[in-house]
């Protein structure tokens, strides 16, 4: 959508054609400027806090199965909070949730999340389950990095942070898994939420 001077355009376009072109230009410019501001900063903080609570409860869980259920429950809760808050924010702003940037963001993040879910199902109950904290953090971070290209500039930066913590988690002792999950899904979400709320409102 490069800026073009009127001089370089058709010298005598019909006014209605120019009107259509202007409306298209306005919509594209607004989409680009808005990026994906449906993110709700407050909800990201809440998601971070619930992840920290999960990290406190998970270590005392009796067995890997319960530990896994706690973190899957946390993921479902976080997704529900995020979607509900985004719906509320876009509704209040009178904008559709499925605008161009939002759709691009969702489609960029979705493959990583789907792979994470599949891997979780595949390794649950096996000795490889100890790798799950690192895998979750890496895949979520990767999703944010790619999805963040259509979103706020802080999103890919935070995504890279998730990937760094995920890389550490892959090679760190098993006992540190919950702590690293708290650092990623807890602390990084809180930081992202505060930045979004301060800079972009909500």
């Amino acid at each position: 959508m490069a800026f073009r001077s009127r001089r370089t355009m058709d010298p005598a376009p019909a006014l209605h054609e120019r009107a259509l072109d202007d409306l298209r230009f306005i919509r594209q410019t607004m989409e680009q400027a808005a990026a994906f501001t449906a993110f709700s900063g407050r909800s990201l903080v809440v998601i971070g806090v619930t992840a920290m609570l999960a990290a406190v409860i998970a270590p005392v869980a009796p067995g890997t199965g319960t530990w896994l259920l706690i973190w899957i429950g946390e993921a479902v809760l976080a997704l529900t909070i995020g979607v509900a808050a985004a719906l509320q924010k876009t509704h209040a702003a009178g904008e559709p949730l499925w605008s161009g940037p939002a759709m691009k963001f969702s489609f960029s993040v979705a493959p990583s999340l789907a792979v994470g879910a599949l891997l979780t199902a595949a390794v649950a109950g096996t000795a490889m389950a100890k790798l799950l904290p690192g895998v979750w953090l890496l895949l979520y971070g990767g999703g944010l990095v790619s999805g963040g290209m259509f979103s706020l500039r802080v999103v890919p930066v935070v995504g890279a942070g998730f990937m760094v913590i995920g890389a550490v988690a892959l090679f760190a002792p098993v006992e540190s898994g919950n702590l690293l999950l708290a650092a990623g899904f807890g602390a990084l979400h809180v930081v992202l939420g505060v930045v979004v709320a301060r800079k972009y409102g909500g």
Partner: protein, 129 residues
């Protein structure tokens, strides 16, 4: 360079009122159009600012894919018309220019959109006859 571009723009004649070249219905709406906004870059500045709380000079430059001089000149014209507000400050010792859409600018953009929609409706009605 920005200063030179601004001087050139200040000397430039005011844009002529728009005229329809085909379709009488469209022509009826032409005089009401806001020539200040009708310029593509100024329209872009207002549209971008309407979608967000504020944008820096560099963000606007990147969104609209234009040059420092062009953006500076046209943002200044919108500022003079009280359509946008401009705040200059220093962040980490670097100057940061931030633009926001003023209420007059928002109203002007809404009027412009209404005119564009009316033009399209009028043209469709003419074609349907």
């Amino acid at each position: 360079m920005a200063e030179a571009a601004r001087r050139r723009a200040d000397r430039a004649p005011a844009p002529r009122p728009l005229r329809g070249v085909r379709g009488g219905a469209a022509h009826e709406h032409a005089p009401a159009l806001d020539a200040l906004i009708h310029h593509r870059l100024r329209l872009g500045i207002l549209s971008a600012l309407a979608a967000t709380d504020s944008l820096t000079f560099n963000e606007l430059k990147s969104i609209l894919k234009t040059t420092d001089g062009n953006l500076s000149v046209h943002a200044r014209r919108l500022e003079e018309a009280a359509y946008v507000t401009c705040t200059k400050r220093f962040e980490d010792r670097r100057p940061r220019t931030e633009y926001r859409l003023a209420s007059a600018g928002r109203q002007a953009l809404q009027r412009y959109l209404a005119h564009m929609e009316a033009l399209i409706r009028a043209t469709r009605a003419t074609l349907g006859r």
